[in-house]
Symmetry: C2
Subunit: 448 residues, 2 copies
């Protein structure tokens, strides 16, 4: 039997970050990661395996970081937790622990669409072998249907489309791709970009059936249309892996994930959870949130890892910050969209500012950039932002996220001291974030 002060189950973004954080905070403790995978994929990089990168081997988290941080590794499946004896059972060995961190992640949701078990139907499974097989299958594929137009669906669809010899279609049951995270005008721009690259978009329709005998031949939609298909990839979300937690009798939350408090502690004082397997609450209002993102996972891991032997950090709730890119076009979001804010009952004031991200606009590399900020009218506090532009959108959203997390008001954002440069940003006279706040102040004043 092995023994470690801190045992982490799972070696992806959450597990690894929890272990590294534990090492930072508890330099004298022994730390062991137990994971199933020989090699760990970078989760957000998975869509890029099929185009930009050349296969799963180019998208791995190097294990060198374990040695560097004095973290031991056991490759095995965790099968059971003896909470009384504080022992983790695995397929290889038993492991005694002082503190256990569950970072068991999630697996793709597989809705029981008739035909989902046909040959040629895949999901985005975070497994090198599985994805290698999909990669190989795609070499001869001609008609690919991606079910689900969230960020995984559109990135995957676009990457597969890059080969140039396939017709890729994305089917989304909501009115627009990305509709859960962006306001309609942002979604429409992304759909236009995808279509201009040859990807077919079918929105506001469900998949009724995957047709074929033995192998996939077509996808039948609820509107009666059929799409020819030799490959179907499900990208309809993820389900928390809670089997281990459940069988150990840990509390499960409303979203089907492991219930944790703000310190990331589960219902067992010696067991913490973080990442896709752990329940999240929203930064806005505090209700459970279904978001699952690697960036949220690492934040929770930094909380869990620091708190193992004494509370040092608390989770203020998930803002939800992320970005997506297709070609040179990027979208990014933080917090609530205008539609989400209204749905939740906020009196929202939204302002969009458009303009180049260089100054003058004639500077090379200038891309049209739009920033939308959403404020709560009474307090003036910013609730969220969305950015549309080039690669810089991915960092502009982080500046916005800082404003959201500090619950800055429009007035405070109008006083934001930004740095600008002709070759790098919008002009100081027209900087999107600041001007959106200025315009919002005017709108809020008028309606008072």
């Amino acid at each position: 039997m092995k023994q470690a002060d801190i045992v982490v189950v799972g070696g992806s973004a959450a597990g690894l970050t929890a272990a590294i954080t534990a090492r930072r905070h508890y330099p004298n403790k022994t730390i062991l990661i137990v994971r199933q995978e020989e090699q760990v994929l970078i989760p957000c990089g998975i869509p890029y395996i099929f185009g930009t990168l050349e296969g799963p081997q180019k998208n791995l988290i190097p294990d060198a970081v374990l040695e560097k941080n004095d973290i031991d590794l056991l490759i095995a499946e965790a099968t059971d937790i003896d909470r009384e004896k504080k022992v983790l059972h695995t397929t290889e060995d038993q492991v005694g622990y002082e503190r256990l961190v569950l970072a068991t992640g999630s697996r793709p949701a597989m809705p029981p669409i008739p035909g989902f078990d046909l040959q040629g139907v895949f999901a985005v499974v975070k497994d090198v072998e599985y994805l290698s097989a999909l990669d190989e299958w795609l070499e001869t594929a001609k008609d690919v249907v991606v079910i689900g137009g969230g960020f995984i669906g559109i990135e995957l669809g676009d990457e597969i489309n890059k080969a140039g010899d396939k017709q890729v279609s994305i089917v989304e049951m909501l009115s627009h791709c990305l509709a859960l995270a962006y306001d309609e005008e942002f979604c429409c721009e992304m759909e236009k970009v995808l279509e201009s690259r040859g990807v077919k978009i079918c929105t506001a329709t469900k998949v009724k059936q995957i047709g074929g005998s033995g192998r996939v031949e077509k996808v039948v939609l609820s509107d009666g249309n059929e799409i020819k298909a030799d490959t179907v990839i499900m990208g309809v979300g993820a389900v928390a892996n809670v089997d281990l937690a459940k069988s150990a009798g840990l509390s499960i939350g409303l979203t089907g994930s492991i219930r944790v408090d703000r310190t990331m502690k589960t219902s067992d004082d010696n067991i913490y959870a973080c990442g896709d397997c752990a329940e999240k609450i929203s930064f806005f209002g505090g209700r459970p949130s279904p978001l699952k993102l690697a960036s949220i996972a690492t934040l929770e891991a930094r909380i869990a890892g620091a708190n193992l032997f004494g509370i040092r950090r608390e989770n203020v709730g998930t803002v939800g910050v992320w970005s997506t890119a297709v070609g040179d076009f990027a979208l990014a979001t933080a917090g609530l969209t205008e539609a989400m804010a209204e749905e939740r009952g906020y009196d929202a004031v939204a302002v969009t500012i458009a303009g180049p991200n260089r100054h003058p606009g004639l500077m090379p590399g200038a891309a049209n950039t739009q920033v939308k900020l959403v404020f709560e009218r009474n307090s003036g506090v910013v609730l969220g932002g969305q950015v549309m532009g080039d690669a810089t959108a991915g960092e502009i959203i982080n500046a916005i996220s800082a404003c959201v997390q500090n619950r800055m008001t429009a007035e405070e954002i109008a006083m934001f001291q930004i740095g600008t440069h002709p070759a790098l940003t919008a002009s100081p006279i027209a900087y999107h974030i600041v001007n959106a706040a200025e315009v919002a102040i005017g709108k809020m004043r008028k309606r008072c």
Copy 2:
């Protein structure tokens, strides 16, 4: 005689932004800008006139924004203020005002180096005709010496060097180019980039004399060396234009700029000042600050413009956020460097994190990126940050600036909810800003 409720003297970044802000806050007031220039240059774009852009005409602030905001324009030189009668005298007409905003800007410093009046010696004068003449002169120039290795000096030097037929040298009296805004290791990287592009760098030496008979022939350095030169450009800083304010009897501050309070009001209750002509105080400690940047000017203008008929905003002091770029290489800074923090008496803890700004690092466009954060040991509050990387550095610094302005602690920054994407940012496990805070926490803990 003309009359306007609000009269703004100066039409560049500060004046224009003050007028637009006044329009936002006081929709019923009449607003007039009085400026000397027929056409207004984008100040930060000036170095790019000589390479990337093709002449001053590609680097103008369009006057359409005036009409759009219902702002009148008088092209004339302001010559005197009759504060008692509230009348501005100009070379064209007299203008009565309720509130006057001085945004008279700055002019290049011209140290009395022997030979500074020779033909072929220029400065960075914000004037279309002057810069057109310099542009034309440079067509036949072969040996160009830029005196001053601040951001104007290095950008100008690199742009002129792009023509490929000139030897450009930059002379800087401090030990490194950019030494007033970056720690040494950042300055050295920029010097390497400039040298790799063929620009000669001479640091830690002053210019003793500009030699020649009639025309420039050489630059004589204090170390005895001589540099062949047919062109010399002075880029050694700027001096506030305060003649108008001085002759009107307004108070002048310690840095030679117009003294203002935190509302941007001068010693006259009806006169405000903003931009390069107005005195700044530092966000750190509150002493006068010599910084002059368009982004600071626009912030001050948003304060002045809002406060003209009642105090709405106060200036918390200048953080100092700006970036610079040479080719694909960018540097950005916010707040205090490690050296500045120590000089001012802070017990500084600095951490640098290096790594690609994509994940995996094999993603196309990945550039090595370094982020350095500086914290105050006792409080853990972040005092500043520096970024080295590609174009995204210009927005990463704005996320850091948000942290600085909110006086976030290392612990709060370690909990920063960032958005990440393979094609846009560093990985969530290795995001520079967050990890710098994590490492700093460890350093601060050890020394307690």
